[in-house]
């Protein structure tokens, strides 16, 4: 079944203390070439019928994201597609 993937990110101007905490931990792993880390949320939606991007956008705008502090994107992925996973 195709799914709709919603990615929610804090707006660029909103401070992300979680991302900062992760970035600050990286030197302890010996990683010193990361300038910044920002943390968001990914939501996968399966519709009973065909994936509906407009409906997904409405869901994201009303519930999944808070437009005051967050931006979101929506896209359709095929059932057998593993999104952004590169082994």
């Amino acid at each position: 079944m195709p799914r709709v993937v919603v990615d929610v990110m804090l707006k660029p101007e909103i401070l992300d203390p979680q991302g900062q905490a992760v970035a600050n931990a990286l030197p302890r792993l010996g990683v010193s070439d990361v300038a910044s880390v920002r943390i968001g949320r990914r939501i996968e939606i399966e519709f009973t019928g065909e994936p509906d991007l407009d409906r997904a956008r409405e869901i994201a705008d009303k519930l999944l994201a808070n437009p005051v502090i967050e931006d979101f994107t929506v896209r359709v992925v095929e059932a057998d597609e593993t999104v952004d996973a590169h082994p």
Binding site: P17, L63, V68
Partner: protein, 227 residues
């Protein structure tokens, strides 16, 4: 007639009992409302208590906003019903767009739990008319996501219109912009506050009795409001 003040219980609310007790100590009748209620049972005001409604899943207050009782409360608040949101209640009011801005993770990422001095800057609201302007009060603060954020235009508007109800004094516990601890809507009937006035209403359990002023304020407000 005794004023009837509704206190909503969501799944995960923690401070509904204390809020109802504060209402009673202030001299009103607390009326317990359930998140699934479709009616407000004729209450004269509503308190949205602190806690972790719906487990704080997704975002604090995001799911509570769609509870059946909230539809009624949003409509009634737009019509002037006094509504006080404390902590999680403040988050719900922002999610419901009754108040501007949002509450985000404390800047230092630590949960803060302490007695906090606030300066009450707006005494024109339904919930703060019993205070003196610039009165300093001591009430508990306890939150993990209490950092108030809004865009610069919104912050300027809040300050310009006297809608910053209270600010943190002697240290900002969560990184809130411009030390904001409480705000109100343009009409002054809806107030959101991050610290907990309901925990400071009697000497046995609170650091002061300063929190009682919020609850006596609404009674004063209701007496002055024609039914």
């Amino acid at each position: 007639m005794t004023a009837r003040v509704g206190v909503v219980t969501f799944p995960g609310s923690l401070d509904d009992g204390d809020a109802a007790r504060a209402v009673r100590i202030a001299g009103a009748e607390p009326v317990r409302l359930w998140h699934g209620d479709a009616e407000l049972n004729g209450v004269d005001a509503v308190v949205l208590p602190g806690g972790f409604s719906y487990g704080d899943y997704l975002r604090c207050g995001a799911i509570a906003r769609f509870a059946p009782v909230m539809g009624k409360i949003v409509d009634a608040a737009r019509g002037g019903l006094p509504v006080l949101g404390v902590c999680n209640g403040f988050q719900i009011l922002c999610e419901a767009h009754l108040l501007p801005g949002a509450l985000t993770r404390n800047q230092h990422l630590h949960f803060r739990n302490r007695d906090q001095v606030l300066r009450v800057e707006s005494t024109g609201t339904a919930w703060t008319n019993a205070f003196q302007a610039d009165q300093e009060i001591l009430i508990p603060v306890k939150n993990g996501e209490g950092c108030y954020v809004a865009d610069t235009a919104t912050l300027d508007e809040l300050e310009g219109e006297g809608r910053v109800v209270a600010r943190y004094v002697g240290g900002n516990p969560n990184g809130s912009q411009r030390d904001i601890a409480a705000i109100t809507n343009p009409a002054g009937n809806v107030v959101g506050i991050m610290p907990h006035p309901e925990h400071a209403v009697e000497a046995l359990t609170g650091p002061s009795l300063d929190g009682l002023g919020f609850f006596t304020s609404v009674l004063k407000h209701l007496v002055g409001t024609p039914a």
